[in-house]
Symmetry: D2
Subunit: 194 residues, 4 copies
Amino acid sequence: MSAERFPQIFARLQRGPQIIGLKDAALVAAYTGAGPGDVIVDAGAGAGWLAAYLGHAVGSAGKVISYEVRPEFVQLAGENIKRAGLEKVVQIKKADIYEGIDEKDVDVVTLDLPEPQRAVGHAFAALKRGGYLATYLPNIEQVKTLAEAAKEAGFVDIATYESLQREWLVRPQGCRPATTGIMHTAWLTFGRKP
Amino acid sequence: MSAERFPQIFARLQRGPQIIGLKDAALVAAYTGAGPGDVIVDAGAGAGWLAAYLGHAVGSAGKVISYEVRPEFVQLAGENIKRAGLEKVVQIKKADIYEGIDEKDVDVVTLDLPEPQRAVGHAFAALKRGGYLATYLPNIEQVKTLAEAAKEAGFVDIATYESLQREWLVRPQGCRPATTGIMHTAWLTFGRKP
Amino acid sequence: MSAERFPQIFARLQRGPQIIGLKDAALVAAYTGAGPGDVIVDAGAGAGWLAAYLGHAVGSAGKVISYEVRPEFVQLAGENIKRAGLEKVVQIKKADIYEGIDEKDVDVVTLDLPEPQRAVGHAFAALKRGGYLATYLPNIEQVKTLAEAAKEAGFVDIATYESLQREWLVRPQGCRPATTGIMHTAWLTFGRKP
Amino acid sequence: MSAERFPQIFARLQRGPQIIGLKDAALVAAYTGAGPGDVIVDAGAGAGWLAAYLGHAVGSAGKVISYEVRPEFVQLAGENIKRAGLEKVVQIKKADIYEGIDEKDVDVVTLDLPEPQRAVGHAFAALKRGGYLATYLPNIEQVKTLAEAAKEAGFVDIATYESLQREWLVRPQGCRPATTGIMHTAWLTFGRKP
């Protein structure tokens, strides 16, 4: 029997052009309260890493529907979800979230795509009262545009964070941070439907 | 009916002398894979914030047993767990984890106490194969002592991280990080039972 | 005889609404090569901290001319320059740098004002070949506007940095960064006249 | 005639096994007040980068004496000092600073070597009243040992900093920090002779 837990499975998923690592996926879950039983709409799936992370967090009582328009990513994300054993929890859906969200009363919407402002009204409509929006954006101009659109759509408690993580070398001969590392991934912006 | 989700509940828990905020609790969950159905042993409970976070993550199919020796913290943590509606998932247990861990086959052990090296052997014994240890330590000397003890106890993949989070002010008149903030909380060290 | 050196003098200058601390002044000097004998044009003087730092760096063989339009800051900066014993090196000049720079063949121009793009052409004209521009801007939109204007004005090697400094508590009982601190001051942008 | 200023010269010096970059050299100068006319003792020279930086800062009225025991580094540092045109200001001295410092009444002593605690008493004796010590150490244990030794030697205002610098990509299509970079160089510790 396999003694593997999720961090090891996650680390072995296939990489796409841009993936959300543990540090950022962790914050998406924490600031949206993503947990057992939640229904989450995610877009774009990309390589499916965030969808997998959220699928693990919501568990078999929950559901993640991850929108993706590019056929090659529908394929890649689907494979990764299978690899992670989450095919009963996570659905990769070939659809354009800019066109609308079919689901209703969802707990969380996560948007990792270049123009989330085009989906933020759909997200607001799809969310339950009290539900959370999370976006993941590499350039600060995108964050500004999104934050304004989220406010106009009706979201409250809009907050933006960046997170810097350093690995430390903890050794008998001396402790210090690793010399080089990731200096920037993306800004995380959250909003709540009141 | 309340439209509150966990981040709002978490933010309103009563504070103790030292609490683990969302940013660090998120990483504890992410790097241990804490999720639905897990059985987690936590110590010391303190104000119960990490226990509450983990209780939310494991859900009703899981269990968090949080050790605490100081009566006033048993009380405070208990109140916070009730406030969070997690009393069926999280048990605050008045016991000294340095003396031993009663539970067997647990998925994760989290240690937020000054001398985790005194509990690391108990943690190894209590964990399932593949289970994870997480510690939370404010001084680097503690990390070094713990990392050596964890290695001796048999843990593998021992890794230490620190995380720096900045809130950004995203405003029409200009975007910038907030001027002041938290520069340090603690180091997170993880290990896996092979 | 006083045994005081510049860091102590600098720390005791009178504060204005916004001052440039040692960490950023140090980088302005480093990335422009500000040193003995240089002629530097600075604006706006504000409380005169950067002018004082640069005055110390260029020494008695150099010169700092610091433009300032607001009479109360001309006064405050003048007092600080006297306090620092730098009145033979640093001149606080009541003039609007947006209108032009009188000096020619200067080594460095430093701009710590809200719209440096309005002075960047004047800076280019005033600088020697090989001379450096430095700007200090708290919002990222300002940096973007400045960087574009600097490029159009003819500057090369345009680069932008931010610097985060943590003080560490190094104590027998344990080493760790101080808990709270300054998370953001401003971006430093540099350019060189080819 | 060359239009080169120091930052360009500095960037072209030959690299050794470990060099002090602009960001850290800048802080050494800032926190010690290194400026025109100062006499500075530095050790070990290594590739001579810090000696060159300080030589530029003290100028022709000042002096930097940089101790080095390894012949290959005496050679390399000497070449770099020539390259920087600082041979009249900076002397690379083949001597072991652990054995003692010949100079008296110096303004600043900078120690970039593995066991600065062995030279800290010599540094105290060599410094003027009010003079500054600076050390540059990659492991935190070294910082702790040095800080205790500096206190015992009589230094006051002992403070330790680490500095993190991010380069930003400021582009029409979007602004963001560069993805990867230097996460750690060394801790800077300063002390003052009262």
